[in-house]
Symmetry: C2
Subunit: 196 residues, 2 copies
C-alpha cells in the first residue's frame, strides 16, 4: 500500500530499554496501514547543545518540527509513572489538536480515570459530597466523566475525529504491548479512507 | 492600568475546594498586571450534555475556545497527584505553543524533575548505567536535563519567549500558594512591555 499520510507516534516508548526496536516495529506497523511514521532521522532535526538543558530543548524543538510535518497523531496514553498518561505526550496531543489535526490514542488498560484515581491514588477514600461534586480528603474534586484520562485529552480525541482504544494488555508488558496500538491504527486507516 | 492582553490561566486550581475564590483572586492579580483573565463566564461557552462524557467534552471545548481567544498562557505546573504537572494543563501548554503564543509557567516547588523522579518516585534507586543513559530497575530511562518537568514543557516555555518560575511555597499550601504566580505575572508584564 502506498502511504497516504504521515503519523506522529507519541508516547513514553522512547524511555524503554528497547526504545529503538519498539519505534522501528511501530513504524513498520504504521507503514503496513498506509502511514509514513515521522522519525527524527527522516526529518533531520539536529540534536545537541552545550548544556543538558539546551540538549533537552533541542529534542523538544525536533519533536515540534516532526509534529508540524505530520498529518495526525497516535498517542500512547497508557498511565506512566502514576495514574495519568506521560505528560510530554499530553503536551503533544494538545499541540496537534491546536493545529486541527486528528488525534488518535490508545491505552493498555481498560480501567478508566475515575477508577485509577479513586482506587489507586486515593486507595478507596474516604470521599465526601460537595453539592453535585465529590471530593477527596485533600479537598480536591474527583472527576467522573466516564473518560480514560483528563477531559482535555478525551475531548480532543473525540472531537478531532479520532478514536481512543483502551483495553487491558493481554500480557504483563503494560507500557509496551501493541495490541491496542494495532487496533487504533486500523481505526485511523478507516478514518482516512472514509475522508478520501 | 488598561489591560493590554488576555491571559489563559491554566492549572489544577479548578479542582480546589475554593476554586472559584482562587480563580477570582488570580483574575484580579492578572488585571493588576494589565492582563484580562480569560473566564468561562466572559466567553460564554455553553457547558452541558446528556451524559457525563458529553458534559466533560463541553468543558474541553470551552477551554479550547478560551485559549483560542487568549494571547498567552500562565500555567500552574506544580506537581499534581504525582511527580509531574496536571496532565490537562500540560495539554493546554502544548495547545498554546502550537499557536505560537508565549507560554509562562510556575511551580510551587524548587525541586526539579530529576530530583522528584529519583527521590520520590523511585525512592533513591537502584539505578544502572546504559551507555550515556541512566535507567531505573524497571528499565525506563531517567531524564536529567536540569528541567522542572518534561522537556516538551520546559522547551515550550523557554523557546516561546516565556518564563518559568519554580520556587518553594513559603507555607504548606503547595498547590494553591500564589507567590510564584505573582512572580511570573511580573515577568509576563515585562515581556509584553518590552515587545510593545
Amino acid at each position: 500500500m502506498t502511504p497516504t499520510h504521515k503519523v506522529y507516534l507519541a508516547g513514553p516508548d522512547v524511555f524503554f530499554r528497547n526504545a529503538s526496536e519498539v519505534m522501528r516495529i511501530k513504524g513498520e506497523m504504521a507503514l503496513e496501514h498506509g502511514f509514513y511514521p515521522s522519525t527524527l532521522a527522516e526529518d533531520g532535526n539536529a540534536l545537541g547543545g552545550d548544556t543538558p538543558f539546551e540538549f533537552g530543548v533541542s529534542i523538544a524543538l525536533a519533536n515540534e518540527a516532526m509534529m508540524d510535518q505530520s498529518d495526525f497523531i497516535i498517542a500512547n496514553l497508557t498511565p506512566f509513572r502514576g495514574i495519568s498518561a506521560d505528560i510530554g505526550t499530553a503536551f503533544e496531543v494538545g499541540y496537534m489538536r491546536a493545529q486541527g489535526k486528528p488525534c488518535f490514542a490508545y491505552s493498555n488498560t481498560g480501567r478508566d480515570y475515575y477508577t485509577r484515581l479513586t482506587e489507586d491514588y486515593y486507595a478507596g477514600g474516604p470521599f465526601e459530597a460537595d453539592g453535585d461534586l465529590t471530593r477527596a480528603a485533600d479537598g480536591l474534586m474527583i472527576e467522573n466523566h466516564g473518560m480514560r484520562d483528563n477531559l482535555m485529552l478525551d475531548g480532543a480525541v473525540d472531537r478531532s475525529g479520532g478514536a481512543f482504544v483502551a483495553q487491558d494488555a493481554p500480557g504483563p508488558d503494560l507500557l509496551g504491548d501493541l495490541d491496542a496500538f494495532r487496533a487504533v491504527l486500523a481505526k485511523a486507516r478507516a478514518f482516512f479512507d472514509q475522508a478520501a
